[in-house]
Symmetry: C2
Subunit: 97 residues, 2 copies
DNA sequence: AAGCTAATTAGCTTATTAGCTAATAACCGA
DNA sequence: TCGGTTATTAGCTAATAAGCTAATTAGCTT
């Protein structure tokens, strides 16, 4: 599993958060993602590598293109863990109904 | 309200996450927090300023010391928002019972 | 294999940030 | 108000990371 550090670091950059946001609509090849951003393709490619390293996205080769997909499993696990982790000890913070 | 960017940036540093973790046990003055870490007091003080800027902690002066307290309200709001935000569109991801 | 497209990696520059020490500010007690 | 304690801010250095262009890798087509 990816380290918490890599996940938080990955989320710290606004461009990477936008990429994740974009991928909500479904899997998308690298080039198509890059086309939606003002930055150079190489720059986006590196952002994608960071997201992949943090296991926030998965990749799959499809012919000549490489398709990126949002991995919400890891993402949600991280968030759940985070929620629990931040709970002040002995506090009875209200629980979601 | 603090920008999402400032919150994620604040969480990206492991020392700052440790500080938040430490504050789960209750409010604590700056000096006492600094004493628990190998870094210089000034360094911790700056980390605290970042956390304060992101509104992840609140401060209150108590005589000669300044007491830091975890602000879980903002924290949880951010996480809730994040959870919702990451949901793939049209997916019906399982809901917590 | 040659040529084309898709994508990543390498190498560089610039900006940000964590760390330090020293200086400054705020408060308290004698 | 002087000295001591508590904390932050200033100024610097070193490391990290984002951005670019150019080079490289991988796959497809003819």
């Amino acid at each position: 599993m990816a380290s918490p550090d890599s996940v938080f670091k990955a989320l710290a950059d606004p461009t990477r958060r936008e990429i994740l946001h974009l991928l909500r609509s479904g899997p998308m090849p690298s080039g198509e993602i890059a086309a939606r951003f003002p930055s150079a393709w190489a720059t986006i490619s590196r952002h994608l590598a960071v997201l992949r390293d943090a296991e926030l996205v998965t990749t799959e080769r499809n012919g000549s293109s490489i398709v990126y997909e949002l991995d919400t499993t890891v993402f949600q696990e991280a968030v759940e863990h985070l929620l629990n982790w931040a709970q002040p000890r002995g506090s009875n913070a209200k629980r979601r109904s």
